[in-house]
Symmetry: C2
């Protein structure tokens, strides 16, 4: 455990370093509230904090910067998780009140708002289809050889896809397909569609495989499809001093470009929490120089979207966590939307 003064010194260093991105000297923090002692005393405290792994030096005669352990302690013990102004609350509310027709858009708006307030890059993905219950499934004929399938789930998620055929389809066939699929699938979890083809064909000998097969294959394809990943404020990060190294900047762009990486990053977090990964805490090698904060927008255990911030380890954790907490709360209030 750290004594009170050490906590204050650590907090002062972390917060100052977050602000300035420069190593913090003993002189620079003596004026920090609650710390009225000389720079020499601070130096002694800093030396000890460094010995215990909370601080790092860039070289022997430099000021100190927080180590990952230091950031972690700050996030766990010293953070202000209500660091959000009235104006920000107002702005968030107004943004989230936007009428949306698809849930996916709500996630995008939330991600955009977070990026605007925190000035960090956000990454988001839409709802996960698993766990969702099929409320309705509809087939619509478009022309003569094209069909659209629309699936509506209990959380209001809508998935649609186009299916093409090698033969003409009659309206009567569509009607039967509608009846048949709804009969089998209504009220079932969406994964049910993944069952073997034969099951669907048992009682419907009149329907050729030519019609049913492409339908099921296409629907499965759409449901399994790579989630679309939305970026907000990718270029905001470039204004930060840590991105002044070309290598880091390049690396960052390439990370954002790697969809699987972003997808894994967002999906790995725990459900009902704000997840903070600092540097080496990230599972993925590529992210070990960054910090990532994520949260999931859940309703009744069903995921309606996940939003993550990716930025330097020197991230304004107070602001980021405060804003995320508030937006998460707001999203849950608006369940009925």
């Amino acid at each position: 455990m750290l004594d009170e003064r050490k906590k204050k010194v650590l907090q002062a260093i972390v917060e100052q370093y977050i602000n300035t991105a420069e190593p913090v000297s003993s002189n620079a923090i003596i004026c920090h509230n609650g710390l009225d002692c000389s720079s020499a005393t601070i130096r002694n405290e800093m030396a000890e904090l460094e010995k215990n792994g909370y601080l790092d030096k860039t070289h022997t005669s430099s000021g100190r910067i927080p180590s990952e352990k230091g950031y972690r302690y700050y996030v766990d013990e010293l953070i202000n998780d209500n660091d959000i102004s009235k104006e920000e609350i107002k702005y968030i509310s107004s943004k989230l009140e936007t009428k949306v027709n698809e849930i996916e858009d709500l996630t995008k708006i939330a991600a955009n708002t977070i990026s605007e307030i925190t000035h960090y890059t956000t990454v988001s993905i839409g709802p996960k289809t698993n766990n969702q219950i099929i409320e309705e499934i509809k087939f619509v004929l478009l022309g003569t050889r094209m069909m659209m399938a629309v699936i509506l789930t209990d959380t209001g998620l809508v998935k649609e896809t186009i299916i093409k055929f090698d033969e003409d389809i009659t309206p009567k066939q569509v009607e039967t397909i509608n009846y048949m699929f709804n009969n089998k699938l209504k009220g079932q979890p969406i994964e049910t569609i993944d069952r073997p083809l034969e099951e669907y064909l048992y009682d419907e000998m009149t329907y050729s495989v030519n019609v049913i097969k492409p339908i099921i294959e296409q629907i499965k394809k759409v449901l399994e499809e790579d989630e679309k990943i939305y970026l907000e404020g990718a270029n905001k990060s470039f204004d930060l001093p840590e991105f002044n190294s070309l290598e880091v900047a390049k690396n960052f762009v390439s990370i954002l470009d790697t969809k699987e990486l972003m997808s894994d990053m967002l999906n790995s977090g725990f459900a009902e929490d704000i997840n903070v990964y600092i540097g080496e805490e990230n599972e993925k090698e590529e992210l070990k120089d960054f910090s990532v904060v994520t949260f999931k927008h859940n309703v009744n255990g069903k995921n309606l979207g996940t939003i993550g911030i990716i930025g330097p380890k020197r991230m304004d954790y107070s602001k980021v966590i405060s804003v995320m907490k508030y937006i998460n709360k707001k999203l849950n209030e608006n369940k009925d939307m």
Copy 2:
């Protein structure tokens, strides 16, 4: 007009500079095919080419680099627009044979292929709705207060949107709406939807504005909606030496991030051509340090997508233009898809 030797010198300099990104010295090109004279002669030619504006110097004692006028001459007169290998042709064909259900995906695949072969960043947008003829418009009830509208056009473009209502909708109402809209809109250009609301309401006094109004508003919204812009290989550009300057790299990311800029860039080109904009030839201030090559995928004067490459002025124009020409040809062959 340039005499034969000057053409050869210019071509050698442009091609070598494209390869190496280093100013080209007189010594470096004497071995170039068809040029058997001394470096001193080349120097004289280079001096004259510079006087005429085809070449630039970075400083007094450096080699030469092509000026924008030099690139332009190269593109117009010296280019090999069939610079494409058998393997590349094979690869392109295999990629374009991918079965797609929506035309938009075809543009994406083409853009992806171009980026893979040229190693430059590509930008693409899907079909434009204007000029398209409505072939069919369908409304499907989802639940009780939600409806999906699907519009199919003559080129196979499918647009769909969700509409929410404040009151319950009956299947009978949907049937009438389907009839009513198809009656009015089938065979009409898609812009017809933009006509004033009253026209639709004339003969349908039984339908409350509460139902018709949100439908038309939402459809109009979707049709006017910002086109989605797809990027491929954004990070490929970062391996080029011109992006070693942090300022340029930052600039580039911010350009790619600006949707209106990208949209204008793609939309400005002429229809049936490969459009090449070199540096200052770009209308947009932000692009004046880059070169842009675009082409539109058109069928019967209807735009089904536009693809652009954005890269350094030192772009491999031969390769880029060859690949684009070939892909454009291929896309037009596959009209029926």
